[in-house]
Assembly symmetry: C2
Homo-oligomer: 549 residues x 2
């Protein structure tokens, strides 16, 4: 194996769960080549008004394309379109070759796709920025190195699980007194079938590649159905994978892209096709529940949820509230892991600078959110732009519903892209009793400050929210060790990732490859977690073949 | 750990998949105590007309009991009955203690239950014999040592999967240039909730304990809902588990028995209860499909299927047909793994004694089936008795449907139990075109000899049967290496366990613990396989807890 070391390091890292990264997250010329950024930027600019021609896929019929940059620049790229039947047939033709390759071979080729992906990390970054509205830094990190690390995780977990079974014939020799019963046995890993990975508009690469690589390491050819508004980043990724597969002597249709349009979507057709056995999905709960309900499919979903912050007391109030202000602002709250609901007791909280009233905590928080958004050196780089007009309208509609407004949403100055669609966070204050209001997911830069009777009520409500609506993250601030332990005992059973007292340069929104699981698969926010063994082992079966010796 | 060696040997065996058994399968006085058999027999005889009082379960309301021995002896045992709410409440009260025990502790206690189960293997054997109709030898082996080995498998796989995560705090230290981001992380295994294991009437222990031990090693308290006609064997098992749990200082309600009656079944109530998160099921496809369709449950099913034998050519025709005759006769075909459909080409087959015509093969096979059934030393000991009146009626009904009958069913002589409900196999000949007839599962001693055009048609039909109806086993006879390889390539994708040329004292019906997987989880016969990692890892989630360092 060419990439044995990379693989072994990844397996070791996932066991240890300490800090590890295979692909450096800094968009640095020293790491990725001094001209990499400029070259990619030029390439990106030439894509406008063209048809994307890097895919090695046969059978196109017409083109589709409706992406628009949230930064207000033109972006009129067309993509080849394919019928469901063509995509399925292409996948079926490629199926046997890929299933019959050894898992070592598959791992090697898949890691090679990541190694070569480094050459287009900047291309993918610009593509991500101008489809999702993420700022450049996040676009680079999330769709480049962080995604590649998550992909490597899936390869490593797959390799580990597949190497569990003997690859050569095993002799089974059972003593029966005078004679022995003797059989020769082989164990075959049988992939489930064709995989479909349905992408979302905000993280078109990061949320897509775990399922893609989990499918591929276990031998299932895969079709990526990107969101019609965010095709380019994953199109570049898929094209590079196809190139690597072809150069390795494999059918490039082992991985395919299935661009479609909002007018003529093909997602349901693909999902319901009998040959599609595995579906990975990121998106709304409504569509995710439909995906989970299709009979005879194995599904891996990340749906919507409502994430909470419980504030009991602060070890370091200013650093903590700066951390939280950053969390609600990062990519304008368009992360499935972003906090929405802040539970604060009505009698205020103890802090390192003395007791603060409820109003003082809220004001301090609002000031920090405002300062970040208005900081000319940070605002645009942290908040980015609003991906969809729907999200933008949601901010305006929520603002006008008569809530007590703590902080009005404002446009973010972005001198480089003056036509960007932007908004600073809208902060609203409600009471604990307004459950129906804050129990809905309001995707985007909208946060509720919820006044509770006390911390125990905050815990109960946060717990109920996870049970009723699901959640990906739960952030807790307390300086009391006993309270912390009680919270753990009460909240662990609802299966949501928890963080205590984050106050440095790590935010609740982020999950680190090789260390943090993304999602738990244990609540209504979805049934998948990157990357647990379950995310891998449901993608294949094992068939024993016995023979009289 | 007291039982570290047993555990480590089991883990090693499952990796190697060579022959291994922890619990000797011979009902031998030397192994299990010279008086064990007699003592158990006496204890069994005193149970008649009594109420089973060994359970350590609180909250009984009334009794149920309707078991009848297929061997025609009286068996009027009553069992305490429990309401669904009582069972759920008992389980919930026990939940936290068990979840908070370390997985090493859980493994140790669960292995201790198996070690102590040895003392009641003979009790369970008599209980199994007189509820299922299995002959004594199978009753002992299947419900005793083989079941205990499968239980140990689940413990071992669970231990391996749970030891994947760090048990102490991990420091995550990420360099960010001038500063580092430092977090302390812990990983908590969060059990899914309460487990329900629904047993069947023919293998009330063997098919039940894998789910029970998989649930328990991963921290989920479990309720066993036995078939109303086969309660006693698993009641003894559960009672012994409760005793061991109690002696270890744990709440015995971590495992509970939920006896009910055919008149007032509580299975659906239990299955649909929101606190029940895991359901293991063995039984009909009809009920199994319902179980799989209940929202928000993780299910492990073994439903019905149709098992085929493809006869292309014989290396050793007499030994092979004796093996097959034994397979259709063993426990009168009442095994989910028993072959039903025998595909034989119309032009006959090549064998070690020359070419045999279709008719000659069929006649040879029928003779061997008949000789086995009529052999006074073997008949009753191999065929046992017919568990249910329904199965017995099915034989008579099928016989009278105008099929070409190759072998008439006959009663089996059983001097010890002259009132046994017995039947030798009914062999029927049909054509390949009669697909609708042989594509139904006819549970019991009924087999179809299907005349095909050639081996290729046999393969296609056997494959189609697995795709349409599911199957647990596929037995193939061929002396041609190339044919064998082609069959493998064609049949592996439908994910059914395959055996070639079985002709010694190993039968397609049997799967060996630690070596063979039972089921694949990859076709309509069920979604579970004993014991793959998937059978384990779906029973818990992992929650990461981060804290600012």
């Amino acid at each position: 194996m060419k990439h044995k070391t990379i693989l072994e390091n990844a397996i070791k890292a996932m066991r240890a769960r300490t800090y590890y990264a295979q692909y450096p997250e800094a968009p640095s010329g020293k790491v990725y080549g001094e001209t990499a950024n400029d070259d990619a930027k030029k390439r990106f600019e030439t894509l406008s008004n063209s048809t994307f021609n890097q895919l090695l896929q046969e059978g196109a019929s017409g083109t589709v394309g409706e992406e628009r940059s949230p930064y207000g620049i033109p972006l009129s790229i067309q993509y080849p379109a394919f019928s469901t039947e063509t995509l399925i047939k292409n996948a079926q033709n490629a199926q046997k070759q890929w299933a019959n390759a050894s898992y070592e071979k598959r791992a090697d080729i898949l890691i090679e796709t990541l190694e070569q992906m480094k050459n287009v990390f900047f291309d993918i970054a610009y593509a991500t920025m101008h489809t999702t509205g993420q700022a450049f830094m996040m676009s680079f990190q999330a769709s480049g190195p962080h995604a590649a690390d998550r992909a490597l995780e899936a390869i490593a977990m797959g390799y580990e699980e597949l190497s569990r079974y003997p690859v050569t014939t095993v002799r089974w020799d059972k003593p029966l007194g005078k004679v022995n019963a003797v059989l020769d046995k082989r164990f075959y890993v049988v992939p489930r079938g064709i995989g479909l990975v349905i992408g979302c508009s905000t993280f078109p690469v990061w949320n897509t590649v775990p399922g893609v690589y989990a499918n591929l390491i276990t031998g299932n050819p895969t079709i990526v159905k990107p969101h019609p508004k965010a095709i380019l980043p994953i199109a570049i990724w898929v094209a590079k994978m196809q190139e690597v597969l072809k150069n390795a002597g494999f059918d490039p249709h082992i991985i395919q892209l299935a661009p479609d349009s909002t007018q003529n979507p093909i997602t349901k057709q693909l999902a319901e096709h009998p040959a599609v056995k595995l579906i990975d999905f990121t998106g709304s709960s409504h569509f995710g529940n439909y995906i989970e309900s299709i009979p005879n499919k194995t599904t891996f979903t990340e749906k919507s949820g409502v994430n909470s912050v419980i504030i009991d007391s602060f070890i370091d109030v200013d650093n903590a509230l700066e951390n939280l202000a950053f969390s609600v602002s990062l990519y304008s709250g368009q992360m499935c892991t972003a906090p929405q609901n802040f539970f604060i007791p009505k009698n205020g909280v103890n802090t390192n600078i003395g007791h603060l009233s409820f109003e003082e905590v809220v004001q301090k928080f609002a000031d920090k959110v405002k300062n970040l958004a208005q900081n000319p050196k940070m605002g645009a780089g942290v908040l980015g732009a609003i991906q969809s007009e729907d999200t933008y309208q949601r901010i305006q509609n929520t603002k006008n519903q008569g809530y007590k407004i703590i902080l009005e949403p404002q446009p973010i100055q972005n001198p480089e892209f003056p036509n960007s669609r932007t908004s600073s966070p809208l902060l609203i204050q409600v009471n604990a009793a307004d459950y129906e209001k804050y129990a809905q997911e309001l995707f985007g830069p909208i946060a509720f400050i919820i006044q509770t009777e006390n911390t125990q009520e905050s815990i109960s409500l946060a717990k109920k929210l996870v049970e009723d609506k699901g959640g990906l993250t739960l952030s807790i601030y307390t300086s009391n060790a006993e309270t912390k332990e009680n919270m753990l005992q009460e909240l662990l059973p609802v299966s949501v990732a928890i963080a205590f007292n984050l106050s440095g340069p790590t935010w609740i929104n982020q999950s680190a490859g090789f260390s943090d699981f993304h999602g738990t698969g244990g609540n209504k926010a979805g049934n998948a977690a990157y990357t647990t063994p379950e995310f891998i082992v449901k993608r294949f079966t094992v068939v024993g073949v016995r023979e009289q010796a």
